[in-house]
């Protein structure tokens, strides 16, 4: 088949896969009943209903406050961590860095469970605190706790961008400032900080945007007190009127998309600016570290406290809880230690399926997804045409869809397109949703390895007689093999962790760990959820170790 047709075909299929779920959302939002209802008519009723709903406005304000609050915590904290690790002589910098990235790879859902079993009303720490000092001063289910936890767990995202910007800062720039007589503090405020401002601006918008996407933390921590954000409000809407209220859900989705899309666009613009700064400066050179003097250990202490609060407390609680039969005030830990929770996991066929499915979808499904991303990236590769430009923008659409929304949209597509309906209860549906949600991310991974291929290498093949498609197959593909494997490993990690995308698709045959723990937590099965979460963490850890051993760069 001629290469031009192949390119168009691949991009057209991609466009369909992106536009169909969004199209069905738009369509449904303008109906006055679910789309499968024969009496459904076009109307603005659903918009009017939702916009008149006080709960909706409350959820919207809560979401906005959460997004602002977590940005205000994560950006300064992430920038500070980055500065301490990359520019100072703080002790233990080299081994602290990988630990900083841990929260990125853990599921926020799992962290939320961990916080509940550690610091909830009858959590381990709460109980011990009570027996030692009397009643505790925190409430894990409060809005401020939610904001604080969201901020702390998102700081590593900021760290990633800030640290790579700081690393690219040439030391001679700062030294030149020192030579002209600037004090170290002036150097930081006049030279270093302005240079990484684009990276900070980008990560600020990124965190704010993620604030509109978070699902696991507010679902677990906010829900018990009736604290809803848009994504959990959407989740709770499922049965608002007693019958499935699809039209209302669609309207909420439209609101989320309308907020998220501009933020995605803004991120794209800011990322370009940030990268321009990096590329202009080129290779990093030897840099003189800022001497902290007496502040060395306090700085280390700050990072230690952050790590304990963000990773150790929830993870330790989670692990401990998975090894006890019950827990509460006045219980002696050594009386309740048990392995039963894990044994019971394997008696529960749904759980066994979920584990197998998770591994399958992450490894095999992940490989297929990377295959799709490679096809799309190759279709756009060195093709100056309207198709490439439009598809570039199309890719941003699923990026603006939080996982829950994408899962819901895929669920509806499988209902709406009746020939597809039998596939809804298979892993295929979950795989499609995952592939769609992570399209922008995966595509960027593949594109960045394609960028490493010098155009002359392909042109050389053309000159000696290879057609365009042949040159891609024989020259380009083998050259990005390592990049594809690295992309696969990162996608595996992400798919193992993923939960929100699968919640609407949960059913017999489509269980994955993430969606199953959400549903079982709702049923109060703390023993099983903590054990299964630990299994999830073990899977992620194994994947992470394999990736690190293979030399995969964990941040693209």
């Amino acid at each position: 088949m001629p290469i031009g047709i192949m390119r168009r075909l691949v991009l057209a299929i991609m466009g369909l896969m992106i536009l169909a779920p969004i199209g069905i959302m738009v369509y449904q939002s303008f109906l006055d009943a679910p789309f499968f209802d024969a009496n459904a008519k076009f109307s603005l009723w659903a918009y009017r209903f939702v916009l008149a709903e006080p709960d909706f406005w409350k959820a919207l304000t809560t979401t906005a406050l959460l997004a602002v609050g977590m940005t205000a915590i994560a950006v300064p904290l992430g920038a500070l961590l980055a500065f301490l690790i990359t520019r100072t002589d703080m002790p233990g910098r080299s081994w602290v860095e990988p630990l900083l990235l841990v929260p990125i790879f853990l599921s926020p859902l799992v962290l939320a469970f961990g916080y509940v079993v550690s610091m909830g009303p009858v959590g381990f720490i709460t109980v011990w605190w009570k027996s030692a000092f009397g009643s505790e001063f925190w409430n894990i289910y409060s809005f401020s706790a939610l904001i604080l936890i969201a901020g702390l767990t998102h700081a590593p995202h900021v760290y990633l961008y800030a640290s790579s910007a700081l690393r690219a800062l040439p030391g001679d720039l700062e030294e030149a400032a020192r030579m002209t007589g600037a004090t170290p503090r002036r150097v930081a405020s006049d030279v270093s900080i302005p240079m990484i401002r684009p990276a900070l601006a980008f990560s600020g918008v990124l965190i704010f945007f993620l604030g509109f996407e978070v699902f696991g933390l507010p679902l677990i921590l906010g829900d018990p007190q009736g604290l809803l954000v848009l994504s959990t409000y959407l989740y709770k809407l499922t049965n608002k009127l007693g019958v499935p209220s699809y039209q209302l859900m669609a309207v909420v989705v439209m609101v989320i998309l309308l907020i998220a899309l501009p933020l995605v666009l803004l991120q794209r613009i800011l990322l370009r600016t940030a990268q321009r700064y990096v590329s202009v400066r080129g290779k990093a050179v030897r840099t003189n570290l800022v001497r902290l003097g007496q502040w060395r250990w306090p700085a280390f202490g700050l990072i230690a406290i952050w790590f304990i609060g963000t990773v150790l407390i929830p993870m330790m609680g989670l692990i401990l809880r998975s090894f006890v039969s019950s827990w509460g005030l006045g219980i002696n830990l050594f009386d309740v230690l048990t392995l039963d929770n894990y044994v019971e996991l394997f008696d529960d066929t749904e759980v066994v399926h979920a584990i197998i499915n998770t591994v399958l979808i992450a490894t095999v499904g992940g490989a297929l997804s990377v295959g799709c991303y490679v096809l799309i990236a190759l279709a756009q590769h060195r093709w100056r045409s309207g198709w490439t430009r439009i598809s570039d923008y199309l890719v941003m659409l699923p990026r603006a869809m939080p996982g829950v929304v994408a899962g819901l949209a895929i669920f509806w597509i499988f209902l709406f397109v009746t020939p597809l309906t039998p596939l809804r209860t298979t892993l295929f549906a979950v795989w499609i949703a995952y592939t769609l949600v992570w399209l922008a991310y995966g595509l960027r991974l593949v594109q960045s390895s394609l960028l490493q291929v010098a155009p002359e290498l392909e042109e050389a093949a053309r000159v000696v007689g290879a057609k365009e498609g042949r040159a891609m197959r024989d020259i380009t593909l083998p050259l990005i093999k390592n990049g594809m494997v690295a992309a696969w490993m990162l996608i595996v990690l992400i798919f193992v962790r993923e939960y929100s995308t699968a919640v609407y698709l949960l059913g017999p045959g489509t269980e994955v760990i993430g969606s199953l723990v959400v549903s079982r937590w709702g049923g109060g099965a703390v023993d099983l959820v903590t054990a299964l979460s630990c299994v999830n963490v073990v899977l992620i850890t194994v994947g992470l170790l394999v990736a690190i051993r293979s030399g995969v760069k964990l941040h693209g």
Partner: protein, 352 residues
């Protein structure tokens, strides 16, 4: 008919007119050097011939057959043009051995495996790479990589080879050896070669013909001797060698000759100024080696003060100042400080 013909080629890149009207002819057994300042479009011309860039007007014929014709919207794809191309970066495929790099073109042409092996071996042998077939590109020196790139472009026996600054990635010593080798190879294989360079000395040494590009047009084309010894324009004169420039006013132009007034002294020279009227501003240009040290005054002579001297191995370069001019001259020996007379022979002084 010439093996490669380019007629009135015009190309635009990113909205900018890069080549405005370029024509050239290239015969077998001939090396044409494409010379020009950086950014003058040399690479662009080469890539257009190879079909890697698309011109919007003009014609390109290879072996008498048109491969590009702007008027007829004909544009034969790169792979069907059958040209050899040596990239400036060599563009060797890093994941393939030397043999596999060279054999790829034959594989594409459906040549049987056994014949592939013999032809690859023969090509590698002829380039002195016989024992290196199993190595990967990164295990080779710069000079060896360059030869592999050449081998890869010759193995399918194209008649036209395009070389984009093939010597620029080699260090100075290796470069001189490589250019002799390249010239000999192209003659022996009876190829028509178009070779880009930005180094005029290299062009003079290697080429049978030089094409000087400037501002999207061919500034001047000719044999190395013509380009060096009889430049038609100021640009060519300045580009092709190291010169002195004497700025003054044109007094008279009569036939081949012109007279230039420089700081009150009259100089006779070769007229290159077209029909400039008397009294117009003019420049005299003369190669450093054409300026002679002489004893005493005379026609086309002027007295200067020696400023500094540099020993260049085979000769000296002296720098003089006087009459508001800086003049450099090559001379066999050292000089005493002080005033010296310099002669600017009329046959070698071009007046623009």
């Amino acid at each position: 008919m010439a093996e490669l013909v380019v007629e009135h080629l015009k190309i635009r890149l990113g909205g900018i007119e890069i080549l405005k009207d370029v024509s050239l002819e290239l015969n077998r057994g001939e090396i044409t050097a494409l010379l020009g300042p950086s950014g003058s479009g040399k690479t662009t011309l080469l890539r257009s011939v190879a079909g890697l860039e698309q011109p919007y007007d003009g014609r390109i014929l290879v072996g008498g057959k048109p491969v590009f014709d702007g008027a007829k919207s004909l544009n034969v794809p790169t792979e069907a043009r059958g040209l050899g191309f040596v990239f400036q970066s060599y563009a060797l495929w890093p994941n393939r051995t030397v043999e596999a790099n060279v054999a790829y073109a034959l594989k594409l042409r459906g040549v049987a495996a056994s014949e592939q092996a013999t032809r690859v071996a023969k090509t590698l042998d002829s380039l002195g790479l016989g024992k290196l077939g199993h190595r990967y590109p990164h295990e080779l020196s710069g000079g060896q990589q360059q030869r592999v790139a050449i081998a890869r472009s010759l193995v399918y026996q194209p008649t036209v080879v395009l070389l984009d600054e093939p010597l620029s990635n080699l260090d100075a010593k290796l470069r001189e050896e490589a250019r002799a080798f390249l010239k000999e190879l192209i003659m022996r294989e009876n190829l028509a070669a178009l070779m880009v360079t930005h180094d005029q000395a290299e062009a003079l040494a290697v080429a049978n013909k030089i094409l000087l590009l400037n501002g999207g047009y061919v500034e001047q084309a000719g044999t190395p001797e013509e380009m060096y010894g009889a430049p038609k324009t100021l640009f060519t004169a300045e580009f092709m060698g190291s010169n002195n420039r004497l700025n003054g006013t044109i007094k008279t132009v009569s036939g081949q000759r012109a007279a230039l007034d420089v700081a009150g002294t009259a100089f006779d020279g070769m007229a290159r100024c077209g029909d400039k009227p008397g009294g117009a501003e003019g420049s005299g240009v003369i190669r450093l080696e054409a300026v002679h040290l002489v004893e005493g005054a005379g026609a086309n002579r002027m007295q200067f003060e020696l400023v500094t001297s540099m020993f260049l191995g085979s000769h000296w370069e002296h720098v003089f100042r006087g009459h508001g001019l800086n003049v450099r001259a090559h001379h066999r020996g050292a000089l005493q400080p002080g005033q010296h007379w310099l002669e600017f022979p009329a046959e070698q002084l071009w007046i623009f």
